[in-house]
Symmetry: C2
Subunit: 197 residues, 2 copies
């Protein structure tokens, strides 16, 4: 295990179980990519998806951060979902419920045309099962404009909080409400696009 992969704070929330980590990655769309651009830390949102033990991201082949992490040979990709706000009797023990995955690794540009197409198809399949067959596939220009980056899920860990408030025993009888306000991500109704509207 790389030293960074070891959760250092909040040890009771640490998760190293790959099945649970995969589930978090598959249930979420947004990741945040960290790197250093011109000597300054940079964090960009992106979409992530997974095939087996590999996490993929993609972007414009001119994306500065993606090119910086490829040159540097290292990145940290973090995926977080907020599941609730935890109200405690004490200000200090207010918290949030969340699932978060942190991946350290060497980003690799996918150069094999076949692997690149399969990876991009897998993103469409994550959006909607069957979608990779229900759309015009990328042409050569579009393929060239897109970088697909693979990162091994070797150095990965997660933290999960999914419980009620954890007040000090001395505070339990204070006359304040405590509990969890759950937060869910839900889909609305599909809005078909009419190009002639």
């Amino acid at each position: 295990m790389q030293p960074q992969t070891q959760v250092k704070r909040g040890l009771k929330r640490a998760v190293y179980n790959r099945e649970q980590i995969n589930q978090i990655l598959d249930d979420t769309y947004l990741c945040h990519i960290g790197g250093v651009v011109d000597g300054y830390p940079a964090v960009q949102p992106n979409l992530h998806w997974r095939i087996g033990d590999t996490l993929y991201i993609h972007g414009s082949s001119k994306n500065g951060l993606i090119n910086a992490i490829l040159t540097e040979g290292k990145t940290c990709i973090t995926v977080s979902a907020l599941d609730g706000i935890v109200f405690a009797k004490s200000a200090f023990h207010h918290s949030v419920n969340y699932r978060s995955v942190m991946l350290f690794g060497t980003p690799k540009l996918v150069e094999d045309e076949q692997e690149k197409r399969e990876a991009l198809d897998a993103l469409l399949e994550k959006f909607k099962k069957g979608r990779s067959k229900e759309t015009r596939p990328p042409n050569a220009t579009e393929m060239k404009a897109t970088s697909v980056i693979a990162i091994s899920l070797e150095h990965v860990s997660a933290k999960v909080r999914a419980t009620g408030p954890e007040d000090d025993p001395a505070d339990l009888d204070l006359p304040f409400t405590s509990g969890v306000l759950p937060i869910h991500q839900v889909y609305g109704e599909f809005e078909p696009f009419d190009p002639n509207a």
Copy 2:
């Protein structure tokens, strides 16, 4: 404007309007903090909140990344919300709707006790209006265990996508569905905590 603050790609999505940026920051809870720890980029989820022109984050006074960005004197804090999945007729033009804010700046440890308390109160108020008065305030030990970090909202920009698919004209008659699947974050019903259960 710092060079990083200038949006480089997807210029038509760039937002520099501070009112719109403030709204995104106030409507969201999760941010991602970027820094460098032991020579490796690191991205950690955290909560953010705003008072006027200052963004705040907080964490354990032993948090490695927070201490690293304080030592380094620079960070990038990114806030992103996913608003929908955009299905296009072409694979290439599939996209997502989102709001994303990127802040570069010098993180400052809030050392003034009064400012620190007011900042922590403002986080509780963001969770629920009035909450800072309906909880036991932090004691000296808890205050010491918590670092509050302030970052000026000077070098901030945003990107927003909030529209339908943008297919090439040649693809518009392809026999595939296109449109937007909206994604919303919603609150569930409050779950009161019973310490004796």
